[in-house]
Symmetry: C2
Subunit: 164 residues, 2 copies
Amino acid sequence: MSSSALPYRPHNHEVCVAQALAEARSICQQHNARLTPTRERVLELIWQSHKPLGAYDVLAVLAEDGHNAAPPTVYRALDFLQQHGLVHRIASLNAFIGCTHAGERHNGMFLICHTCGNVLELTAPGVSNAVTLAAAEQSFQPDDVTIEVAGYCPRCVPEPAHDR
Amino acid sequence: MSSSALPYRPHNHEVCVAQALAEARSICQQHNARLTPTRERVLELIWQSHKPLGAYDVLAVLAEDGHNAAPPTVYRALDFLQQHGLVHRIASLNAFIGCTHAGERHNGMFLICHTCGNVLELTAPGVSNAVTLAAAEQSFQPDDVTIEVAGYCPRCVPEPAHDR
DNA sequence: TTGCTAATGTTATAATGTTGCAAATTCCGC
DNA sequence: GCGGAATTTGCAACATTATAACATTAGCAA
Ligand SMILES: [Zn+2]
Ligand SMILES: [Zn+2]
Ligand SMILES: [Zn+2]
Ligand SMILES: [Zn+2]
């Protein structure tokens, strides 16, 4: 599991999906939680790429599947997956993405490329510590930390327009 | 301007509002931007407390004012105010709050109390630096950084339930 | 079986945000 | 001041995201 900046490089994504699903099954077993067909299918769809997917995008694919689903179906599945740390919601995009650190205790930080739309989830201890410290200075007790960085990934950094 | 953790303590909030409006007028003048009555009124409403306000909350108050406004009116005003750094949007809440560092270059970090709903905006260089560094390690070029920390403010920290 | 609980289906509705165009206002050079 | 350009606002319709409420079904255990 040395796959740090994977989303930005070509790679065999089916491996990502397979690993995520296997991990999910294992985690749900540990939690005594039921990874039902709908939930598993939603997780698989969320993992269809490293770009976050909106709830209604998921819904649309379920419909193509022939699954007669309404919004609550999707939101419930997503809630379940979030609860068990299998997906994250990206607040600045109203969209969801598969967690690449499922099972590990981690505070995600998300790098979101404006251009290609891919999202990389990092665990950045330096950032977490700095946030904790800054909060402590205000006697604030953090509970849920959202860190979302939009910008340009290495493949999409705009060329510096050098003259001539 | 030594008012760091103001929102969590009782204070004369009219001073906050007055300062914010004065600052806004000054900044808009510098930017050659027009702080029209609607925009100013929206800013004033956003500043009605240190709790973020939803666009439709603003809209409702405008309606009470007798101002016959539709959603675009509010969203346009909010866009304008954001553009000039007078308000921030809190992505995790779909709500807006007055900027307490207007005019200064700053990367806001928001401490959001689950209980009282107040929000404190901080400038935390340690956090900004850590984020920049973590992004750089991935050759990622940050553009827009969202840091929102939900938790409990000093006035609302749940008592440790000591027995007896 | 029977009865309980978790999960899903179904319908409707709430909350948030946008598009497009027309009318009004403001600005600016004359 | 006057007239045309640019900005701002009004307005209607619509799009997207999320939830509430209640009926039904599936899983499981006594
Ligand atoms: Zn992949
Ligand atoms: Zn994660
Ligand atoms: Zn105040
Ligand atoms: Zn600010």
